[in-house]
Amino acid sequence: MKIISDLWKGQLYNAARTHAGQPPGGKASCIQIAHDDLQRLDLFKPAQFLRIPHNQLPLLRLRTSATSYIPTHLHLSNTHTYTPYAKQYCLSCLPLQIPGDETHTLLHCPHFSPLIQPAIHSLMLNHRQFDLWTWATYTDTQKVAYATWIYPTKT
């Protein structure tokens, strides 16, 4: 017998699947960020970060592509025309044409990423405290997922 959470997980994983060489798109990006959080047994319960009483609204907006400071979260350009996900370039890094997704903005952007370094440093300390893998061993997607607050669980 299957449970509804399994069926739902299957649907979400299918929606996050992208073809090789293609950028993920907004929906796939959201699901990739929540990938580890989808491992919870009961998807009917809210995600881990919503059970902690701090910064719920900013984190919810960040995880669901509803911010105004990450370029790929803006579907319209300054002239109110639709711009594809892959062409939403980081404005701080122009004229280099780098897609301004969460990974770039939070981890690699020379203008924005220093702002969240204190939070990442705190996460690294937490990982050490919980005896988890060192920060450098995680992929960029996992780092972004942790930065949007996946509560560290011992693996």
Binding site: M1, C30, F44, A47, L57
Partner: protein, 220 residues
């Protein structure tokens, strides 16, 4: 054949008879029934009620902004409010709505309603996942599987259960019309891979007893 008339029992009354007007829809136990049972009207009504509920939820959330020391409700509090006021309108008659288009309309309305109450206008799939709200199509499967167990195991002696068992027990899925409730019940049990002969009811499986108070404290 219509039009039908109702005659007065008093011969001197004027007029002698009253025409009975045929109605195109009527409400029965909160469900709007239309002549062909397409359930479109029930869908429209559910969306309208949910919209009114959403306005109420936003108003309550706004009115509580000066409660205690917090300037506004947290997303968790708004989510609880939304689940109490808006969500029941989407779920109440969900198992009777068989058109995929109607389910999609309701899902769109639910997504927008949740986004407005939480003030998060981003990707709906991510929002549903983070808030723990499964798509209505999956919730409908659960409701239909529950109905199946109610008709076959927990309440087998009622009139609907007797009719259900008598008419449908031996028919294969392909023999049902896709708009019937019986087809959707069979389809739901198939989607969940429920073996109707051997699988127990969910509440019959051994589960540790829950401490509701500690669960509440953990979540809120």
């Amino acid at each position: 054949m219509p039009p039908f008339h109702m005659f007065s029992p008093f011969p001197t009354s004027n007029p002698r008879s009253y025409p009975i007007h045929e109605v195109s829809q009527f409400e029965y136990l909160g469900l709007i029934l239309d002549p062909k049972l397409t359930m479109h009207l029930a869908t429209v009504k559910a969306i309208r009620r949910a919209s009114q509920g959403q306005a109420l939820a936003i108003a309550v959330s706004y009115s509580l902004r000066y409660d205690k020391n917090s300037s506004q409700l947290t997303p968790t509090q708004n989510l609880s409010l939304w689940k109490v006021i808006v969500l029941p309108h989407f779920l109440q008659n969900l198992r009777h709505i068989h058109s995929d288009t109607d389910i999609k309309k309701m899902q769109t309305s639910l997504n927008l309603s949740l986004a407005r109450v939480l003030h998060v206008y981003g990707d709906h799939t991510g929002l549903l996942e983070d808030t723990g709200m499964p798509p209505l199509q999956l919730t409908k499967y659960v409701h239909l599987a529950q109905l199946h167990f109610r008709l076959t195991i927990t309440r087998p002696d009622t009139l609907p259960a007797l009719l259900f068992n008598k008419l449908n027990s031996s028919l294969p899925l392909s023999k049902f019309h896709t708009s019937t409730l019986d087809y959707h019940i069979r389809y739901a049990t198939h989607a969940f891979k429920i073996d109707l002969q051997t699988d127990p009811l969910p509440d019959m499986t051994s589960q540790p007893p829950k401490n509701h108070e500690s669960t509440f404290r953990e979540n809120y």
